[in-house]
């Protein structure tokens, strides 16, 4: 076998895919040809290096983006066939979603309605998909929306499925639908007003306010007449709102008292609490911020669900593992998965806490704080007088400082003087004693 011919076979040789006869020939050649053996060793290293590349984690927001794009694609492709699939004759009490589709079906013949329905369907599907990504509350949505084969989508059939009554729990904690979607549904659905409203109605009842996953923060600086009095009021306001002071600091020794508080209050009370703080005195500075973390939360939850599934599988694998090596490998992997679950759960808890409780940074100051900028248009004579007095005070402070300095230096000066005097006397006596 020639070296060139051999090189064509090395890849298969590495993967052990050569027929026995060819394999033997390769072995023979390698034994007597160091060049080819070297070639093989290098190729093996190359293959191993490629195999050592680690997979990347999915980027933040990837899963949600995919689901949204899918919903969009489904909406354009599915609107018409879905409506056709519903029979028009359904007497007696009919499910809401089905009724909606029957009503809009007659409208479908006019092309204008199609766009509106497609938009409405996009809204439904987006919610359906997003709800599906959130384990724990897809049951109810699906009962209402899967008009074609409800029986197929029984809870438990799918990985993320849970008992249908999980929905009742979400209803209570979700007061409304994502406002953006709500507006879109109404704006585009003017033509199908009845159907459109119905649609929004369904979603309002069942959806968790996914657009409501918002972290709210506020920064407020208020100038108050009496700090201690204001501080008491702050405590009352926070307690009334069901919140708490996370951290605070006050400087009470100065003639001008001031302090700051980091306060956490329930999301719903945020605006009211800010308004009450503003009444404490003159607002000097105010900043409000909000951050939508819905995508991050949905993502994290999907990741956790995924990892839980892996954990389950690995657990089953561990039961089947026979050799020590297998057990160790599975346990390694299991530890890794569990560690990731824990860290994602930590993230989730943090986000949920931030969403549930808004954060307010409140700073209270008594007037006259030197940090306060001079009020424009203030009495010029007062400013001149103030400058004059300040200078006098400065001179006074300097005089006092000088006296204090002299006093503090005095003992050292005395000691040095005494030493010098003693030395001078010693020097003065020495020549006389030596003569």
């Amino acid at each position: 076998m020639s070296c060139d011919r051999l090189k064509d076979l090395l890849s298969l040789y590495i993967d052990d895919k050569l027929p026995a006869e060819q394999r033997r020939q390769v072995d023979e050649h390698l034994a007597k040809c160091p060049d080819c053996a070297a070639e093989l060793a290098m190729l093996r290293q190359a293959v191993a290096l490629a195999g050592s590349l680690d997979d990347l984690e999915l980027p933040e927001g990837f899963h949600v983006a995919v689901q949204a794009k899918l919903a969009e694609a489904a909406a354009t492709a599915n609107a018409a066939p879905a409506a056709e699939a519903v029979s028009s004759a359904a007497p007696g009490p009919i499910p809401i979603a089905q009724g909606l589709l029957i009503r809009t079906r007659t409208a479908l013949r006019r092309p204008l309605w199609r766009g509106a329905l497609a938009t409405a369907a996009a809204v439904v599907l987006l919610f359906a998909v997003v709800s599906n990504a959130l384990p724990g509350w897809n049951g109810n949505v699906w009962q209402l929306l899967s008009y074609r084969d409800t029986q197929l989508r029984e809870p438990g059939v799918l990985g993320g499925g849970t008992a249908p009554d999980a929905g009742t729990d979400t209803e209570t904690k979700a007061p409304g639908i994502n406002q953006g979607t709500d507006a879109a549904g109404k704006g585009d659905g003017t033509g199908v007003s009845e159907g459109g409203d119905r649609l929004v109605g369904i979603l309002t009842d069942t959806s968790v306010g996914i657009g409501n996953m918002i972290i709210r923060t506020g920064t407020l600086t208020v100038q108050v007449e009496k700090f201690t009095e204001a501080e008491r009021q702050v405590n009352t306001i926070v307690e009334d709102a069901g919140g708490y002071i996370e951290q605070s600091s006050a400087s009470l020794d100065d003639t001008i008292k001031s302090g700051w508080f980091r306060i956490r209050v329930p999301q719903d009370e945020f605006t009211a609490v800010i308004a009450r703080f503003e009444e404490l005195g003159t607002v000097r500075q105010k900043e409000m911020g909000s951050e939508d973390v819905s995508a991050a939360i949905v993502d994290t939850e999907a990741r956790i669900a995924n990892l839980r599934r892996q954990e389950l599988r690995l657990g089953e694998l561990l039961g089947q593992a026979k050799t020590l090596d297998e057990i160790l490998r599975v346990e390694n992997e299991l530890n890794r998965v569990r560690y990731q679950i824990e860290s994602y759960e930590g993230q989730l808890k943090y986000l949920q806490n931030r969403v549930a409780m808004a954060t307010i940074a409140l700073s209270l100051k008594e007037p006259g704080d030197p940090a306060d900028p001079p009020v424009p248009g203030a009495d010029i004579w007062r400013q001149i007088w103030k400058a004059f007095v300040n200078t006098w005070r400065g001179i006074g402070r300097f005089a006092v400082g000088l006296v204090v300095f002299v006093a503090s230096v005095a003992p050292v000066a005395l000691l040095i003087g005494a030493a010098w005097w003693a030395f001078a006397r010693y020097r003065g006596r020495r020549p006389s004693s030596g003569s």
Binding site: L49, A73, R329, N332
Partner: protein, 231 residues
């Protein structure tokens, strides 16, 4: 090594058959074919990480990879009606991803400098997944990230069809038959193309001084971590 792409993340050496399926994939597929975006969304959860990684290795950088992976998944969903049950879903999906990536590269042919120099930082906290024989020392972590970046760049310099087979075979561990199905080529073509692709990769790695010549091989740093050279 021959674990297929059907499962999420498998520990090295675990055959896919060993995994009990905890939910009904076939059911999800059939619902997806009816245009059920939610079912497809769930189905995709199993594959999206692998799809993303395939796109990443194909196109070289993270931003394009995310876009391409998403585009491929949406295209797959739209084409679900044409999916034949006798084909394996994973290979069918892979085929779409590879095509999307190749299209993307063709469209960028006028600007042939694909950004492949993005460093691979060790940000995917699962570096210790490989079974390491010796006690790992801290410098190894850095070494490893650096090596990975260099290997990634070397793969990026391969011709597109070579890159595809190396990624599928050596990084993602597909079987020859699966690769043939993904690329729609004969098994024999896979074998010869893989051979050429690996040779080309070897050249690139050699140029990047990542390979140890066999003379000094014994006792030098072990580049074949986790993968024993002797079979």
């Amino acid at each position: 090594m021959d674990h297929s792409i059907g499962a999420t993340v498998l520990p090295a050496g675990m055959p896919k058959e060993a995994l009990p399926l905890s939910f009904d994939e076939a059911h999800l597929i059939s619902r997806s074919r009816d245009g059920d975006a939610a079912a497809f969304g769930e189905l995709v959860q199993i594959y999206e990480r692998r799809v993303y990684n395939l796109a990443y290795r194909m196109c070289g950088n993270r931003e394009d990879a995310a876009d391409l992976a998403q585009e491929a998944l949406v295209r797959a969903f739209k084409a679900m009606r044409r999916f034949r049950e006798q084909a394996q879903f994973s290979t069918w999906l892979y085929r779409i991803v590879v095509n999307v990536c190749l299209d993307h590269q063709r469209s960028r042919m006028r600007h042939p400098t694909v950004s492949l120099d993005e460093p691979v930082t060790g940000d995917d906290g699962d570096i210790p997944r490989q079974v390491v024989a010796d006690e790992p020392d801290p410098s190894e972590h850095y070494d490893r990230a650096e090596t990975q970046a260099a290997v990634h760049r070397a793969i990026g310099r391969l011709a597109a069809d070579h890159r595809a087979v190396v990624i599928m075979r050596d990084i993602q561990g597909l079987a020859y038959e699966e690769i043939a199905e993904v690329l729609g080529i004969a098994l024999g073509t896979v074998k010869s193309r893989l051979n050429r692709a690996r040779m080309a990769l070897k050249e690139e790695l050699q140029r990047a001084e990542l390979l140890t010549p066999p003379g000094v091989y014994a006792g030098s740093r072990d580049v074949s971590r986790g993968e024993e050279s002797q079979r």
